[in-house]
Assembly symmetry: C2
Homo-oligomer: 317 residues x 2
DNA sequence: ACTTGACCTGGAACGCGTTTCAGAAATTAA
DNA sequence: TTAATTTCTGAAACGCGTTCCAGGTCAAGT
């Protein structure tokens, strides 16, 4: 049962049926009634895929996310979803594990018109790749693209990083551990953390106090464990998430060791519970903005400042 | 640039080009080479939407989720995603807020071939509706569908509920508060909680100790607050999530009141941190199974038992 | 030598809705 | 009463890839 069948049955043409369905002007009441009657009688619904094909638009937005459990990505996705839903767009989840081939495949799906736009919460492919594929559809990334002409919605982190390290320095900490998702070469965010650190502490982060590929509570725990095994005892752990910081804390607790000062990120529940200082990067808002850019047609960059939230980890309960 | 253009340029027909692209048999080496040359030269990629249209398949699975932040839904979605990704399927997020109209719209999109299948992590529409729409595509729900012939992947909860309440009773608690997402009429899961409660305590849950629409940490906090305002002091709070239990706990803590015994659910980080007894419903596995059912063609039900995890909330740190 | 079957290839139909364009009919304006 | 609009309507083309079927070639089997 397709639009042509309905046309035949109602005695009008497919064009007229289409007009009725999309209730457009230039249809007589007679025609409208007759067509609606047949549509109802045969319980006809138009085929979305065919519609997408002829309109050249799918109302699908792909969201590439390296990891599925990381609060960064899920936070952004919630923001995207909350904006996309009322606008009649749906979001398609595209896990990538930072695999450039997989991400390339998604970019090609953009070319193939499977999505109207793609939002990269983070990416393994290069900015040059993104630039190159921009001609096939709207592409938005979620970090500062520098001087690349690529749409981006991102968090302006430097101020809160500086604030956090400044506060840390005032606590008179010496040995600062830094836990990151990705290393300095791969991640602009990590690079930013490094820069802020250097600005405040006037030296490079110590290799021995650096850990990458840290994402979860367990990773935090393991990081602390590895510090312990290597006989390094940080007096501050700057973690990339409250859950991570909490995991590290747990290691020291379990082994009856003094707990270093902790700074988390993402303003997660664990941080609230333990009253850890944290940095809120406003991911929900970033998601919202990324969506707006995705459906808009200008290439532009928007940013939101993140916020250092000072709490005292010693007076939690 | 479409397949017909490539056909013309290569001197072969669209049919042959299609065969080359999908590398099927019955294409001469000459033809293959000539076509591939043109494809490369013009950097042609086929249009996915057109392909979907003619194949009648999108490789998209819709996942309906009432709330976007609830661990139940996100857990299932992660399971679906982890299974869908290697199988070449993508998942489309469909938020519903339990709105039957919205969900109906999604079901109609299934009819319209926008998705190959829909997984309802939970639903506001009736099982009769699902039954009715099954003829338009695979539909999977995530709770026990009773004697409805609908595919389902769900958690068998009754045993662990009984275990939890049995343990609770052994703690000699009298006033049991129950925090739920949805009320008994609306939710089969809530109903199950009620049944288990009655079986162990031999009476209906007390109205005054019942709260619904409780989902987050803050909701848990507010629930405890409302008990306090109404002068009811539960000695056990059976929450629908560890975060919720944690929220309730926080209220008592903040007001220097004795903390009731807590039982959480979902085995969340907060519960681990505070060493709360919890019930793990294996949502990840449910998601995986739901996906298998979604792409399979038989209608069947599979279940996984949930697990009561006993921990002692008093010896946390 | 003759049948059989595997191998190639392309025209045309199919999946299905939208849109353009041209022509006809009915109003309104002048 | 013309001229100029506006309203309807449908045929056909379009978006684009897939597949069926018919027709032809060529090597293997008897």
């Amino acid at each position: 049962m397709n639009i042509h069948d309905i046309a035949k049955l109602s005695g009008y043409s497919a064009a007229t049926v289409s007009r009725v369905i999309n209730n457009r002007k230039y249809v007589s009441d007679d025609a409208k009634l007759a067509v609606q009657k047949i549509i109802k009688e045969y319980d006809y619904v138009p085929n979305d895929v065919a519609r997408d094909l002829s309109k050249g638009k799918t109302h699908n937005i792909g969201v590439v996310m390296p990891y599925t459990k990381h609060p960064y990505y899920t936070g952004i996705i919630n923001g995207v979803m909350d904006a996309a839903f009322p606008a009649g767009y749906r979001i398609v989840l595209l896990p990538s594990m930072y695999d450039a081939d997989v991400e390339m495949n998604y970019l090609n799906r953009l070319r193939r018109k499977a999505y109207d736009a793609i939002i990269f919460t983070s990416h393994g492919v290069t900015l040059d790749d993104l630039l190159e594929y921009q001609k096939y559809g709207s592409i938005v990334c979620c970090h500062d693209p520098g001087n690349y002409d690529i749409s981006a919605a991102y968090t302006e982190r430097i101020d809160s990083y500086l604030k956090a390290f400044t506060w840390a320095k005032a606590q008179n900490v010496k040995k600062v551990a830094i836990l990151l998702s990705r290393n300095f070469e791969l991640s602009a965010t990590s690079q930013l953390t490094r820069k802020a650190f250097i600005k405040i502490f006037h030296h490079e982060p110590l290799e021995s106090l650096l850990r990458t590929d840290v994402i979860t509570y367990s990773d935090g725990y393991r990081s602390a464990q590895s510090f312990y095994k290597n006989n390094v005892t940080p007096d501050l752990i700057f973690a990339n998430g409250d859950d991570v910081a909490t995991g590290a804390r747990q290691f020291y607790l379990d082994h009856h060791l003094p707990i270093p000062t902790l700074i988390g990120q993402e303003n997660q529940l664990s941080g609230q519970l333990l009253n850890l200082p944290t940095i809120d990067h406003n991911f929900h808002e970033i998601g919202r903005l990324a969506f707006e850019l995705a459906i808009g047609d200008e290439t532009k960059q928007v940013s939101v400042a993140s916020r250092f939230i000072l709490r005292n980890q010693n007076d939690h309960n």
